[in-house]
């Protein structure tokens, strides 16, 4: 499973990508993954501190926190978008 971070979430985490051989124990949804990541050492807690400004995508499609995650997924976390 690949996990990508963009914009200020990438800056707070300190890098843009994590790779996991498999989904971490106890994680079955995007929300579970956020809880797992927020508990890691480093900048993760700061990046996920305000979940109201965290958007999630699985395999490049927007999803809700209840969406499941699987070993081969590309999961991404980023702030609300500001293009245009």
């Amino acid at each position: 499973m690949k996990v990508l971070y963009f914009a200020w979430m990438r800056e707070k985490v300190g890098h843009g990508k994590d790779t996991f051989d498999s989904v971490p124990d106890g994680v079955s949804t995007v929300g579970d993954l956020i809880a797992y990541l927020a508990g890691l050492q480093g900048g993760y807690a700061a990046a996920f501190a305000d979940q109201s400004v965290v958007r999630a995508a699985v395999n490049q499609t927007y999803v809700e926190l209840s969406h499941p995650v699987a070993d081969g997924d590309e999961v991404a976390f980023f702030p609300p978008v500001t293009g245009g």
């Binding site: 200020w8 927007y62 500001t82 293009g83 245009g84």
Partner: protein
């Protein structure tokens, strides 16, 4: 990403299709000030892969809502300075109203659904631009059948 020429893009979209009767376009550019502060430059970050998919999805949605003869959407990324072009939307239809409305719709959805993020360089430091409630409101006026995303 390199610049585009709006005139060339409009020409390319409408060439050889005489059923087109109206073409609308929007060009977004980098503002040199924000909240009274000078903006030296803006860096646009995107999500390679998802950004392209999101733009295709938005264009498909517009084509489903209006009788369009052609659509062009170009969105640059990387570091851009004040006055530089960021985004181009061109819509062509048999009549003007569909072209106008589809152009506005594409910009409103692009601003709230396409994965781009702006980092401004200001005297006080680099600052990520916050999403605006007014952009969400603008996108919401086209409320309809898109229920699958979480970008509210």
């Amino acid at each position: 990403m390199e610049d585009f020429d709006p005139g060339d893009e409009i020409e390319a979209l409408s060439a050889e299709d005489t059923s087109i009767g109206g073409i609308a376009s929007f060009v977004g550019t980098v503002r040199g000030t924000d909240d009274g502060e000078t903006v030296a430059a803006m860096t646009l970050e995107h999500y390679p892969g998802m950004t392209e998919k999101a733009l295709e999805h938005i264009v498909t949605e517009a084509e489903g809502r209006w009788p369009l003869k052609g659509v062009t959407v170009i969105h640059r990324y990387g570091r851009l300075e004040p006055g530089e072009r960021i985004v181009l939307v061109v819509t062509a239809s048999a009549h003007r109203q569909a072209a106008f409305d589809a152009c506005a719709f594409l910009m409103d959805w692009l601003k709230t659904k396409a994965p781009f993020w702006k980092l401004e360089e200001k005297p006080s430091g680099a600052e990520w631009v916050d999403a605006r409630d007014s952009d969400d409101a603008a996108a919401a006026r086209w409320a309809g059948k898109d229920g699958e995303n979480g970008t509210t």
